[in-house]
């Protein structure tokens, strides 16, 4: 199962003319990396910018003295992963 997951993800990690693929992503963050990766860095900056974690926010501050209920989306991230498809 883990092997399948790894293969699924690695399958579509793009490579720019064999120079860089996603696992060498850290090199794109350097000025030289940006220069060398050309097309890759142009679009990757949008994806890096739009990647944020989960939404964590307090809307009401202070002491609440009433019954409160804690709700959860069951299996949130795996459910989202099941909807993934390869990019075209």
């Amino acid at each position: 199962m883990i092997k399948e997951l790894v293969e699924d993800t690695l399958y579509h990690n793009p490579m720019e003319k064999g120079r860089y693929d996603m696992k060498n992503l850290s090199k794109v963050f350097t000025p030289t990396g940006v220069e060398l990766s050309k097309g890759l860095s142009q679009y990757i900056s949008y994806f890096l910018g739009s990647y944020h974690g989960g939404r964590n926010e307090s809307f009401i501050y202070g002491l609440v003295q009433e019954t409160v209920y804690d709700y959860d989306l069951p299996g949130a991230y795996p459910t989202a992963m099941s909807l993934l498809e390869y990019p075209n």
Partner: protein
């Protein structure tokens, strides 16, 4: 962006936008980065966000200016760049170009349309949105999506060749997990495996620093083998949007105290029974996805409740 509207759900889209929500929107949905570790959700500002967030913001009557971005559709999304050009510019123009140049080279020749500034690397169906071409979206009608539910149709995900393996692997993990009682070691182990896969897709993306006990210094987390900003961004934004949509559709007379990634605390009872309406597009697609995975449609579960209250 208007042209991509129908395909935004089934695509890897990342955009920079300027936005303005109406003042009656209680829980704005577009993330704005304050510093390295903080994001907040204001009524207006400039945001780097995904296609999901645009769809949700537009449904809340947000006014959006698209300043630039990238659109990469799913393999089975039905999106075809040539089909789009045929519709926009006329079939005869495309046929003439194909005859003259061959389909392979045609992709490079569709540049006169300023939206298609450049094809992205080897993604033949991908498009850049040019930074100096500002596009304004003002209402749900501005996205070309007459049948919005069709956009969110996830029923063929399990059958799709291009995405089926993600579905199959996840379903195996979920099925294995459900064989064991909640809270047991094996149940937690399968939960951990599934969540680790997603964690590895995102590891190293935001250049977070951690303390290394070996050298007693902080260092940047290196990227992992599975790193993919496309997949990681899609998954997290989908969950943010599902949660934000639920928050915005809550009973206005009840309170929501806080939210944390995939859940929230409220004083409303019985939400675990809640079934999403078809008009709640993210919540409904989530409900259907759970149904495909486990055989039981579910949107929310109640983790616990406290009669004494809380400090928020």
């Amino acid at each position: 962006m208007r042209m991509f509207g129908k395909y935004l759900f089934k695509s890897y889209t990342a955009v920079k936008i300027e936005f303005n929500f109406p003042e009656n929107v209680k829980y704005p949905v577009l993330p704005v980065r304050l510093d390295e570790s903080s994001i907040f959700y204001p009524l207006n500002g400039v945001s780097y966000c995904t296609g999901h967030e645009i769809l949700l913001a537009i449904s809340l009557n947000c006014r959006i200016k698209v300043l630039g971005g990238v659109f990469i559709p799913f393999k089975n999304s039905g999106y075809s760049k040539l089909g789009l050009i045929r519709r926009k510019q006329g079939k005869h123009i495309v046929d003439k170009l194909i005859k003259a140049t061959g389909e392979g080279q045609l992709k490079e020749k569709i540049l006169p349309d300023p939206i298609f500034l450049k094809l992205v690397l080897r993604y033949s169906q991908a498009s850049f949105l040019k930074e100096d071409r500002v596009e304004t979206l003002e209402s749900p009608d501005t996205l070309e999506s007459p049948d919005t539910l069709e956009t969110f149709n996830i029923s063929n995900t399990s059958k799709s060749k291009s995405g089926g393996s993600f579905f199959k692997t996840t379903r195996k993990l979920v099925e294995e997990r459900l064989k064991y009682p909640k809270g047991s070691y094996m149940n937690q182990l399968y939960k951990f495996i599934a969540n680790s896969g997603i964690g590895q897709m995102a590891r190293g993306l935001n250049q977070k620093k951690v303390f290394d006990t070996e050298t007693c210094k902080t260092k940047v987390i290196p990227p992992g083998e599975l790193i993919s900003p496309l997949y990681a961004g899609w998954i997290t934004s989908y969950i943010r949007c599902t949660l934000s949509e639920i928050l915005n559709n809550q009973n206005p007379e009840k309170k929501i105290f806080s939210c944390t990634t995939d859940g929230f605390i409220s004083n409303e009872e019985g939400l675990e029974q809640r079934k999403p309406l078809k008009s709640e597009r993210f919540a409904y697609s989530y409900y259907k996805a759970r149904e495909s995975l486990t055989g039981v449609g579910e949107l929310l579960e109640q983790k616990h409740f406290d009669v004494k209250g809380l400090i928020s």
